[in-house]
Amino acid sequence: MKESKVLTRRVGKYKPSDLKGYEALGGLQALRRALAMGPESVIEEIKRSGLTGRGGAGFPTALKWASAAQEKQQPKYFICNADEGELGTFKDKVLLDGDPWAVLEGILIAAYAIGAEQAYIYIKGEYEKTAKLWDKLANEAQIAGLLGEGILGSKFSVSLHVVRGRGPYIAGEEFALIASLEARRPMSRLKPPYPTEEGLLGKPTVVNNVETIANVPVILAGGAEEYRQLGVEDEPGTRLFSLSGDVKKPAVYELEIGSGTLQELISELGQGTKNGRPIKAVQPGGGTSALLGRDSLGCKLTAQAISQAGSSIGTAGVIVYQEGKSAVDIVKGLLEFYGAESCGRCAPCRIGVVRMKEIVDTLSRGEGTADDLAQLREIGKASVAVATCGMGQAFPLPVLSALELFPEDFEAAVQKNPQ
């Protein structure tokens, strides 16, 4: 299995502060082409490329843009979501630090396409150095005429707010992120209306993940047809896989979509499990994706194949668990994180995540009962079915899948009970 460096091809090749270095490596061609094409053709080109969101939900990018572009309300906003909070996901940081000008170029093209004059980048609070780098970058871009009035001699004007997040995981969810930018508590809400209709300060807003946006200059520079040469028919392009957990070489690997299997990613690029033990389970799409057992390791790395196997590609954060750990402890670790992160808006998540965490704690102490297992299933299924946002709908999935895949681990936890 080989990496295909497309989005990461410039990482480490120029100093992040060096705009000239970026231009020498082919930078800004896409923006120039976009400004010459006009907004509608830009959206058309992205549509033909088949680009989908890389932040977890996988929504077609061009549809979002077109829906915001057709809104009559002004002003419109573009937000680049760099609040990379999902467990086991650290790919956006590679782009933000390693090829920031490409991300900025993508932001400018997106803002131009939807008609936004104000753009935001919301950077995860823990990425303090990254936020400082972006503050500097925004200043330099202003001086170079890439931000402000009349960009590169065109009639297009846009300003960029570099905003650092302030802690909560849920602020990476698009409505919570918008609430946060409005200086409100970061809480999700029901949709519709979608952000493209009623987003930041009630105005049409597009929220795109960093990796999604980094694809935009690639598509515009080479054209949609060339882009579609990468990946598979239904899922063109590459993806950044964040590989972590019990592997020898955890890192971010850029792969052409569908170019290999989970097993190959783990054993070839990741050089196998830490102690050479067999793999017990894998989460292919970040901490809220369902566990896959050993039988599914031959699964191709496409959204479709992973979803057929019973999980989801999500943020492409692949977390590996080797034999030797009980599934109860695996889900305990996950619930320890999510148990503190519900925004509190809806009951299934607010109460459910805490109750599930309590039950799993009880089980891991060997004090559980068969009733506890039934409750764990019931609460989990309820939250998946009726929670407001992606977090509530997804955090129970690893628990539910663990109950299916490793019932013996849970039964062992119950049997330890002296009663």
Partner: protein, 75 residues
């Protein structure tokens, strides 16, 4: 961490091109980073400038782990 001075804060607002609903969150962050907390008088002033209720800003500040409304006592 700088000691809080109303003048320093006012300069910060000026350097950010004034206080608006659109940059309120980012301003609160800058105040937090500069002074280690967002003091009451700042909340009051920003509320007046942005026409956002003081209570709402207070509510937001106290819900994020990284914001403080007063300096933590020195230990």
């Amino acid at each position: 961490m700088a000691k809080f001075k109303m003048q320093t804060y006012q300069n910060l607002v000026k350097d950010s091109g004034g206080a608006t609903k659109e940059n309120l969150f980012s301003l609160l962050g800058k105040v937090q980073d500069k002074f280690g907390c967002v003091p009451r008088e700042v909340v009051r002033d920003l509320a007046a400038k942005t026409r956002v209720a003081e209570a709402r800003i207070y509510g937001a500040l106290t819900s994020y782990g990284d914001f403080k409304i007063e300096l933590e006592p020195e230990s």
